[in-house]
Amino acid sequence: MTVVGIDKVVVRFAGDSGDGMQLLGDRFTLQAAAFGNDLATMPDYPAEIRAPQGTVHGVSSFQVHFADTDILTPGDTPDVLVAFNPAALKANVEDLRAGGVVIVDPDEFTKRNLAKAGYERDPLTDGSLRHLTLHRVAMGAITLGAVKPLGTGRKDALRSRNMFALGLLSWMYGRPTDGVEHALRAKFAKLPTVAEANVLAFRAGWNYGETTEMFATTYRVAPAALPAGEYRRVSGNAALALGLLTAGWISRMKVVLGTYPITPASDILHELARHKNFDLLTIQAEDEIAAVGAALGASFGGALGVTTTSGPGLALKSETIGLGVMTELPLVIVDVQRGGPSTGLPTKTEQADLLQARFGRHGESPVPVLAPLSPSDCFDTAVEAARIAVTYRTPVLLLSDGALANGSEPWRLPKIAELAPIDPGFATGPNATDDSGDYWPYLRDRETLARSWAIPGTPGLEHRIGGLEKAERTGAISYDPANHEAMVRTRQAKIDGIAVPDLDVDDPDSARTLVLGWGSTYGPIRAAVRRLRSAGRAVAQAHLRHLNPFPANLDDVLSRYDRVVVPEMNLGQLALLLRARGMTDIVSHTKVTGLPFKAGELEDVLMDLMEGVAA
């Protein structure tokens, strides 16, 4: 038995959507986290809750990448695939790197299962897996044997197969096991027999690795040298929810989430619904329109109104966001983007709502747009979105996406006490500048252009707002042409003037090519840039977190480069916005498969471009 130290490994578990792949992946990830590896994960599951068993479109998978250095993506190509049935093998085997390890349960490769998966010949025997290292492990049969003492029925006993795999992989990679049994007993505390079955299966998996001679080598991935601090693993949706909660905490405003369930945003509601001990209320509304309406109504009352959705829901909310623009009330709208148009690809990722976010309302209706660049950055971006919404009295759009929402990574816990407070600065008395003693709700702060904000319950400041055009300062209804012209321009100027940090450029080698991305493409772009640099190529990188307004130095930065490559998971929406600013040297690289970019493919694209080959 040899033990080999490696710097990173990518493992993918795949099985039927009822086989417990997400739980398996989650536990394996937590072990890596506890061990101190850096990591990134990517779950992939079908839109159907229980798609037909044994078929390729019913396959659910979970990929985890863990390493001894900081990593940026869940990995392009798995090193190891654990396939629980023929369909899982078929759906995933082509992604493996050459020489990769495949672990299958040969008992699953029956004629019937092969047919369901669409295999004409048995891939275990027809030579099609020749380029891989194949291990046949009777995971089902051994699990049945291991849990036999519990007297569990066959069907229930087989459910623990995923924990057998966890045990085997834990052994292969020398993962710590102490936490696992404890966690399983805690998770199934109400079902002690199930807990015991899972523990027995887990031990059987570990022992199988140790006692058989099937695996000649085990691997060790050392802890990563991450910045010192306390860490947890966090998904994008969880981080976003915690960011909203924190925004309420530091602003001392009640957070009111009005939302309607939609994939892949629902987990934000699920997370926040658990924290009602904070000054937070959740409203599961009757539809997307009511959801944003309730949020805006709460904001009118002085709360921080928030609504969470995905692309189809954002379309429905457009009119109410317009009302938020007109009434100049804070509102945070989270769009966890998915493949579109229409129902599209509900469980897959895409970045194709950028233009909807920027322009998807009638009239001149500008709103700030922000996009987080990693799962943990969803926290900071949510706090920032709330800060802008409250400071400038405006709806703010936050564009997350499916890859960020469900992906996870280690997160160094933020120090809440160090966050700058958010101050709603409610009006408390009359403010008219004409000695009338009146209250003018549309009198503006000279610096931010934010309007005065008096909330119901404030005596003497009773006033009415609404969707009709407002007179400057007094906020009374006004159909005056000059007033409308002034108000349209003022609303635009307010958004244009939002304080946005300058765009940082990472360019150690004075490169001629800049890669500019936004949102969840940060990880793969960064990984590709690193690879190019280690191959001796000079390439600069910058990533936009603010998509409206853009950083003030954007044009300057872009003009310094011969060409700006803009990779996006859409047909070039950021590129369109940049070209509209008069930038001509934009090379748009786009992909709309519903899957994130791979570092390797971006590396190839950039390399080709720099070699002068048309991409």
Binding site: A33, A34, G36, A222, P223, A224, A225, L226, A228, G229, E230, Y231, R232, V234, L242, L245, T246, W249, V256, G258, H275, K276, N277, F278, D279, L281, I283, A285, E286, I289, A290, A291, G293, A294, L296, G297, A298, S299, F300, G301, G302, A303, E319, T320, R412, L413, P414, I416, P456, G457, P459, G460, E462, H463, R464, I465, G466, G467, A476, I477
Partner: protein
């Protein structure tokens, strides 16, 4: 579901948490500085005056009253009241008001809407606000026509009504708003008329006191696009024969008053259990209906709502139903109170999430 004090919440007044004003108020206190711009003769004027006269009676702090409207002629209403207000977007007022009512228990929240706003574009929000029993008072001005868009038929227009959008007659069947509200599990449903100031004020006061959603349908005359639609109910003689005024604990009757001071016609159950209007002398006295708006079972209230006919040969007014059940916004807040009692909030603990590890300054490679 666990709640802190559902029963008390169910019984307390709709205004229980709204601060009161020790100073007496006048109707004039509720007039805003905006010029009222409805057409001359519009029923909205009477409703506005009635509301402005009724609000001081509630004795609430003016700044704790909010009117939220949708779009339509009636939805201009908040501009003319010197309270907090929002003129929102078409059909969405109940949703916006729900968020406000949930966030702010110290406010008396009113929704002003019309037949198009509430029953057409906003139908979904209306039924769900009623189902949830949010502490909102919804005043539905029903003029049976679209006024602001200049005269198209509405979801309460007569079938066959000729308008610009239905030159050979509307093919749509109308809603009965009271029946709809009862079907949507509303805990308080009433109907009144713009011309009946006294009856309207009475119903509005009862609505304000009710904890939970209150829907008040108000028949309202549009003098321009559907003039005289409710005239049959306004003529004193006609009204006597057509209008049933519901009064809790009293026999339900109508018609000219007889020597005994009672209406000559009564509402009674026929042998098949259906409600019918028949001459008093033909009715078995035991079968005459005594109105009980607090009846938990909504079926009698529903049957009463069906006595009202689209042609107004019979119109039932007053409070159909007023029952006590938990209000949504109370429930939502009670959950939060309970959660805080069980787990005082700690932002650091929530951020850490329970499963953390520490990376020290010099991590071993």
């Amino acid at each position: 579901m666990t709640t802190v004090d559902t029963e008390t919440a169910g019984r307390r007044s709709g205004l229980a948490l709204v601060p009161s004003d020790p100073e007496p108020q006048k109707a004039a206190d509720y007039r805003s500085d905006q010029e009222v711009r409805w057409c001359p003769g519009c029923g909205d004027y009477i409703i506005l005056n009635t509301v402005q006269a009724m609000l001081p009676e509630l004795g609430l702090r003016r700044e704790n009253i909010v009117f939220i409207s949708g779009i339509g002629c009636s939805s201009r209403f908040p501009y003319y009241l010197d309270t907090y207000g929002m003129h929102s977007i078409h059909g969405r007022a109940p949703a916006i008001a729900t968020g406000l009512a949930v966030a702010r228990p110290d406010l008396s929240v009113w929704v002003i809407t019309g037949d198009g706003d509430a029953l057409s574009i906003g139908g979904n929000h209306l039924i769900h606000a009623l189902r949830r029993n949010v502490n909102l008072k919804i005043l539905l001005f029903n003029n049976r026509v679209y006024g602001l868009t200049k005269g198209q038929y509405s979801p309460t227009s007569d079938r066959g009504m000729v308008t610009k959008s239905s030159p050979v007659g509307s093919p749509d069947a109308p809603f009965n708003p009271v029946s709809l509200a009862l079907g949507a599990e509303a805990s308080f449903v009433a109907r009144s008329m713009d011309s009946d100031r006294e009856g309207l004020a009475e119903v509005l006061r009862a609505a304000a006191e009710h904890r939970g959603s209150a829907l008040v349908e108000i028949y309202q005359n549009c003098p321009v696009f559907n003039a005289g639609a409710f005239d049959a109910l306004k003529d004193p003689d006609q009204s006597l024969r057509r209008v049933i005024r519901l009064r809790a604990g009293e026999e339900i009757d109508l018609g000219p008053v007889g020597e005994d001071g009672r209406g000559t016609q009564v509402v009674a159950r026929d042998p098949r259990g259906r409600l019918a209007v028949l001459p008093r002398e033909e009715a078995d006295s035991k079968s005459i209906l005594v109105h009980d708006p607090a009846d938990e079972d909504p079926s009698t209230a529903f049957a009463l709502s069906r006595l009202s006919t689209q042609d107004l040969s019979c119109a039932v007014t007053g409070v159909f139903r007023s029952v006590s059940r938990p209000a949504y916004d109370d429930e939502v807040r009670d959950q939060a109170v309970l959660a805080r009692e069980q787990h005082p909030p700690s932002i650091e603990d929530v951020i850490a999430g329970g499963d953390t590890w520490t990376v020290s300054e010099r991590s071993e490679r």
